[in-house]
């Protein structure tokens, strides 16, 4: 086969690409737009100033990574609520099964993806930290 034409074609392609708009995202200054159904950090939904969670234990049961810890308590109205709701982000695989399993729509996933931290302890998100992300 003629060895020259492929080289010329290749050169033409590279030259053409030089005038295309670069796809690079200048990350810390430009932020990516995450998709609507992106599965990032969890958030506990709030209703009437309280977490919706009723501590039914369906999310820790379905969780394949076993990263959710829930402890149930009873409030003044004899309603069940989660005294402890912790997610260990080092174990979480962001599968979203907890969101699917929740019968009261108490947990959702946000577009937050920058989850780096300095200490291992900081990766365990307590109920308060999960509530903050509204």
């Amino acid at each position: 086969m003629n060895p020259i034409t492929p080289i010329i074609n290749g050169m033409a392609i590279t030259l053409k690409h030089m005038f295309l708009k670069p796809v690079t995202l200048q990350y810390p200054t430009e932020r990516p737009k995450v998709a609507a159904r992106f599965r990032g950090l969890h958030a506990l939904n709030v209703s009437h100033d309280k977490a919706k969670c009723v501590a039914c234990y369906l999310c820790p049961t379905v969780c394949p990574a076993k990263c959710i810890t829930v402890e149930a308590g009873e409030d003044a109205n004899h309603d069940k609520f989660a005294t402890v709701y912790e997610i260990d982000m080092l174990r979480c695989i962001f599968c979203g099964y907890c969101v699917e399993a929740c019968p009261v729509d108490a947990v959702r996933m946000t577009g937050e993806f920058e989850l780096a931290n300095y200490k291992r302890q900081d990766f365990i998100y307590s109920k308060e930290r999960l509530l903050e992300k509204k």
């Binding site: 290749g10 050169m11 590279t14 030259l15 670069p22 690079t24």
Partner: protein
């Protein structure tokens, strides 16, 4: 003006030092910014941005790289042959720079009544009324460019590491094969010019508004010379001596800090030299419109042509993958050398009848 040293006017020495300084600083800056240009151009060809953070659009990147390399730890392997290991980067770097002594980058300019030819190793003899330069300029360049391989071979051998040795051996084999074809291809140019002096060769290409360039008379020779020169200075797609994927950077595996930087400066300086030589031999050197009226336009045209060829080098690098070793040898020995020989014969036959 009246003072004379060794029979030459004072102005001669001033002009010489000025030419050396200007050319050297300019080449150094070009080398530094060639690295930046290469990263930018290849970046954009791959639809990326290239360096963007240091300075406006990454313009300070070469300086940041230089400073970083300066402060890196200097490591000499305990099993290395220390003297050869230390001297190798210098042997690679110096021939790359001293070739600029004979490349004419402009016509004759006049400063305070004294005529200065814009070529480092040349002077204007007022009594004879003509420019004297190194009359075997091309031979000098060929000699210097083949000296450069010693630095690489020595680096590969002195590092006492298998990868480095492989890189060094590949470099020597590759350079020997491609030097032949490059040398043969410029013989066709000498057959037309009848001189080895680069100033004369540039003068011969000055007529007809650019159509006297040897590129048009010897297109095959120009093509072979440029490709073989790329192979000789180990640019992609012929960068087998440093082949990152198979030889872990080849001859410079064991090098660090400024010595490593020296190899890269040598590589880029060689690229500038090769482009400058191709411009001089085939693209009419500093010739261009209006150079007779404004001699200072000469260097501008020269630099523009050199930068264009450097862009072509980077363009080739962005396009082609590395050749396999047997393909490289096949291309050198079985394609370029026979074609260059045929080119000489055909030039001779045509030259005999015209």
């Amino acid at each position: 003006m009246g003072i004379e040293i060794l029979g030459l006017p004072m102005m001669y020495y001033i002009a010489m030092v000025a030419k050396v300084l200007v050319a050297f600083v300019f080449v150094l800056l070009t080398v530094a910014y060639a690295t930046y240009a290469e990263r930018k151009i290849i970046g954009h060809m791959q639809v990326r941005l290239g360096p963007m953070r240091t300075g406006w659009h990454g313009l300070l990147q070469p300086i940041a790289d230089g400073v970083k390399l300066f402060f890196k730890e200097e490591i000499i392997p305990s099993q290395a042959s220390t003297f050869a290991f230390l001297i190798a980067p210098l042997i690679a770097l110096i021939p790359a720079f001293i070739t600029f002594a004979v490349i004419p980058f402009g016509g004759v300019i006049e400063v305070a009544g004294y005529k200065i030819p814009l070529q480092i190793a040349a002077y204007y003899d007022t009594t004879a009324g003509q420019v004297f330069d190194v009359n075997v300029g091309v031979l000098y360049i060929l000699a210097m460019s083949s000296l450069g391989v010693y630095g690489i071979v020595l680096a590969g051998w002195a590092s006492n590491s298998k990868y480095s040795l492989m890189g060094g051996l590949r470099a020597s084999a590759q350079m020997i094969s491609y030097e032949l074809a490059a040398g043969l291809s410029i013989i066709a140019v000498f057959m037309l010019s009848g001189t080895l002096s680069l100033t004369k060769i540039v003068e011969l290409q000055s007529g007809m508004g650019g159509f006297e360039w040897y590129l048009f008379k010897q297109p095959l020779a120009a093509f072979i010379f440029f490709i073989c020169s790329l192979a000789e200075i180990n640019r992609t797609p012929f960068d087998l001596p440093e082949a990152e994927t198979e030889l872990v950077s080849g001859f410079c595996t064991e090098y660090s800090s400024m010595k490593y930087a020296m190899f890269f400066m040598a590589e880029y300086a060689n690229m500038v030299t090769v482009c400058a030589l191709t411009v001089t031999l085939f693209l009419g050197g500093w010739n261009g419109p209006l150079t007779a009226a404004m001699p200072l336009l000469g260097p501008v045209y020269f630099i523009a042509k050199v930068y264009f060829l450097m862009f072509v080098c980077m363009w080739i690098r962005a396009t082609l993958p590395r050749y396999r070793y047997d393909q490289l040898m096949h291309l050198g020995w079985k394609v370029f050398i026979p074609v260059a020989l045929v080119n000489i014969v055909v030039t001779g036959i045509i030259g005999y009848f015209i």
